[in-house]
Assembly symmetry: D2
Homo-oligomer: 354 residues x 4
């Protein structure tokens, strides 16, 4: 399928040319394995510059970044408070439970946003009650799983409530770049400055080939992590090829440019969609994920040409409707969006599709 037909996910795409260049350039000379190379040293320094004092380790992917970050804090009789739709709860095949043995305590006010009062609910419910797991960490996803972004105020309130209750704050940052671009903040301002203790910093959705960073903003938590990383099957021998990518991503704010383009293309898509009668914006747009409400049959027809995911059906008792997700990326162009819009406009919309 041609690249501009893919709105399925930002990890369906190519590696950003500058990232690939960095990989190619790193392919010269011998280095020590397992992270004892100069690329990794340089990358760690860059993380310090970007986030302030921190300890950084590189692992293979987002699931590993979430699970091993939490494994460094949580004992099996402890728990992580998160939303029902948190990636760790729904999309990692139980990796958290398998690896850590702990429990995820999910919140109920909203499927995607977590609220401070829900932290207190779980803390108080089980306090000193040995028949139940004890909350130890709050984990939030920024940008969250519905493409929405916590404001600085929301983040601060969550961090304060977590810390007041002696809980650590973990952030799943698979799309944190899009959040920073949206909020107009630096990466430090939406993590360390608001009180995040550990960050899973993802790059694959923003142009990397593979590799995620676990950033211990609270450096005490990094103690012994090298053993957790190795035992967790996430210590790569030719580490320099992960580190080189992160250097390219953080240097000269490539992460920001990539995220900015993705967000802008999503905004452009929404602006164009507004004039089409039978298509509705299903969720408020924050970052680079556009959720549209389409007629189910129409969506299926459109899928013959375009790749995107039907996210939800059978909502609001309307069986004929579908919420569909369209994701833009660092390499989406205005022309790509125009072509999609044109297809939506010209593809006949009538009930006899089935």
């Amino acid at each position: 399928m041609k690249i501009n037909m893919h709105f399925g996910s930002d990890n369906h795409l190519v590696v950003h040319p500058q990232i690939l260049d960095a990989i190619v350039k790193a392919n010269s000379g011998s280095t020590c394995a397992y992270g004892l190379d100069d690329y990794t040293k340089e990358a760690k320094i860059l993380f310090n510059k970007t986030f302030g004092e921190c300890e950084t380790y590189f692992v293979g992917n987002g699931t590993a970044a979430n699970v091993l970050a939490l494994a460094s804090i949580v004992r099996s009789y402890e728990a992580v408070i998160c939303t029902k739709q948190a990636h760790i709860n729904t999309d990692e095949c139980g990796a958290f439970e398998k690896y850590i043995g702990g429990k995820l305590l999910t919140t109920s006010k909203d499927d995607y946003f977590l609220f401070p009062e829900e932290i207190e609910y779980w803390v108080n419910k089980y306090k000193n009650f040995c028949h139940a797991v004890q909350p130890k960490v709050v984990s939030i996803t920024q940008t969250n799983e519905s493409g929405r972004i916590y404001s600085i105020e929301q983040l601060k309130a969550i961090a304060q409530t977590a810390h007041k209750n002696y809980l650590y704050l973990h952030m799943d940052g698979a799309r944190i770049a899009n959040a920073a671009a949206y909020l107009g903040c630096s990466l430090k301002e939406i993590t360390k400055d608001i009180g995040v203790d550990i960050l899973s910093f993802g790059g694959t959705k923003n142009g990397l080939m593979f590799g995620d960073a676990i950033v211990f903003l609270n450096k005490n938590l990094a103690e012994n992590f090298e053993y957790i990383q190795k035992q967790g099957m996430q210590l790569f021998s030719k580490m320099r090829f992960i580190s080189a990518q992160f250097i390219a991503l953080l240097q000269e704010d490539l992460w920001f440019k990539n995220a900015k383009n993705a967000n802008e293309m999503a905004e452009y898509l929404v602006s164009q969609i507004k004039i089409i009668n039978h298509v509705k914006l299903a969720r408020e747009l924050n970052g680079n994920e556009v959720f549209l409400e389409l007629d189910l049959n129409f969506a299926k027809k459109l899928q013959e040409k375009y790749l995107f995911y039907i996210w939800e059906t059978n909502f609001k008792d309307e069986k004929e409707k579908a919420i569909c997700r369209f994701v833009t990326s660092f390499c989406t162009t205005k022309e790509d969006v125009d072509l999609l819009i044109n297809e939506i406009k010209t593809l006949p919309f009538y009930a006899q599709f089935l």
Copy 2:
């Protein structure tokens, strides 16, 4: 350090140019994520051609390949029979025990080679005894951890004894290419044909950037593996970049050419070392790992210029001696070896080093 100064390990080296080319070429167009792309499809077909009927999955590294391969067979009350120096026992930070919860039953006749009668020892010792773990798998490493290679006859005897006792045979093939090149066999002849059930097929030491293959030669064992892979934090989104590497490695026998060069350079190194008085070959050479017995102080002096590992000291009650490992690779040249030999010859050898 210059590339030809590195005899530390074959994973200290660059990615083979043809592998890197394959990665660069794969960076075009969008594909589905998580292995549902055409590169992965093609790579799996190539594994079938290479190994005969099999199911193949790609994971991040060798530890993951070993642990998840075994996780597909072993329940926590079961055990894996292996040698004391098996990589899973000594070099994976307890990843097997952590992830599977089972036990490694180590053999004692030799630290590196496993013998059929030792399989029967463990099977009989615990048969139907509910107070002890039950053997389920035999795991051997080919090339083994001392650089030695099992003969076809040895492999067959192990496989037969394993199967006769209802055990599966797993092979840790981090350096299997060197073994095949040494034995003059195809990959199929030293795995499927002798009765290996699951193979961890490593490529990083033979020119890959990252990624290992778990090859289910006994296809029944692959059932449900996609869940094990995802839960095991080893399902990579941009999978095509692993698959493309394996295509390049298996196509036109690049794996063989790489291994052959590494083995030949090791042989050449040994041939040149024989004429130096104070250096002895410590272990019989099979593949690409040369173990030399050096004076400890001399070794330390040599390490100022060359990277290699001191493998063992304090053996045979000779405190002044060290067994040192020199690993050659696909990119080692005769000139590299000559320079090393020259250094060994010209570096003064006297007791006053300290």
Copy 3:
């Protein structure tokens, strides 16, 4: 505290005299350890008579009975469907997640009763989706955690839906005796006959000292259980003292008499409470757990003399109200209930309590 002041739980009470007698009588002569004794043999035969063809193993307590029963079926990438308030989800300190590594998928229609359509919801939601755990077992609690009892029809519907979807049915039977007594059924009729595959059969709440039985009604699932039991730290050396208790409990239907008395005393308590103005029955009574809605301050005052638990506060926006649980048992007498009722009647009820 005197025995008749305890309405806290049916496991706060003494061991039934006949059970204790059985223990004392078993204390004669030597026997083999770890279940290879005649008492255990006899007890297993009695379970066959009681439940029809089955395999039975004895463990230490209810948490162990639930976790190891499920451990015999569930792999870590699989899941158990249960209600939000299932004991395994809320009262076992995450033992399921720790020991099995799998996930509990909770239902939302009711906190305590599970409905067939919710099984299908979870099955369909994740079918063949490797990013999520795969449902394997449905677990229900009979009598459930709110003291309510599934009807035979409800049980059959659940069993059918589970089996149709290739799921096993587990029953947490910590208070199953009360359910059988309430429904007027044999133990077999509410387990094997309706399609339960594995039963955790508890006795501590019905007069035992310690020990639970895992009853594999589907005998295939018992394969290898002796290893799971030992590894699960639940193989007791002097097993005869558990087995002897179960013999006494099943012989001459002691289990039924005990449960019947408990249920009848609960009914009597409810009948007497109805005439008191400021006390309301908070949940329909089925077995031996009476949930009363009391004024919170009144409840606290009553607790100075009686032991019972405040189950819930802050419901229906009435901060001054509390749902309190009073549990009757095999040894509760009419006089005990009358004394409690009298106390409730005579303890002044006014708002100035605080």
Copy 4:
């Protein structure tokens, strides 16, 4: 089989009458469940009197006592140093690996006794090497698995070496009473005073019905143990029936009297055996386990009448010999031993047995 025919193990026997009495007496009145009762309070105080300042928890059996004691200290990337024949390594079906995920590093100088220099071997071998598990605890068994007893000097040397290397010392005390009786020491003198940090204190082999104590002599290590206990499936509801047993065992030194009788009967057995020609003492006697070297066929013949275990065959290349274990107990009498001796003397000894 009559009680005096059982020399199989000290857990084949009855519960000591005073222990049973204590259980019967505890069966009066209601108490809170899960250890919040007065018996448990009193038992804990008795442990303080017996061992000095400590925190004590009661679990179901010896496997649980070992695993949960170690679970309170060891993270999955850490390791326990123990002998090859340690109960945790050979007789608990991999419960340690399953529950903790860590690794047992076994010593090789002796199968049963651990030596200080072996602690240092493992510590130095892996120091700061992230590819291997990190030693955290030394675990020794007193009386050890061959019935031998560490001297106070040996214990002190082990404790010192452990602590010097920042390791904790755990003692598996399934037969610690026999060791104290043999050494003529108090329980405190062979545990807290020599530096044991955590003790698994077993009673089943010394007259208890069920239940082991985990004694945190280093009280800091007990933090959070209530959660480990519950999650570890070892929090019993009617806890008083374990606590009451321990009260009876520790009060008036019943533990000592029981152990003394067992030891003395073992000594008497050995004294009588010495005059029989074809029977040899296979291992030095310390406590209550007598290992005799018998002709294999003779042993099998004797087993038709007496229960004891053949411990080892095929040693010293003598296929016709067997090492057999005879265990005496608190209730073994001189007459029991005399009868056994008489049987050994009169049972014809000739090679044609087969």
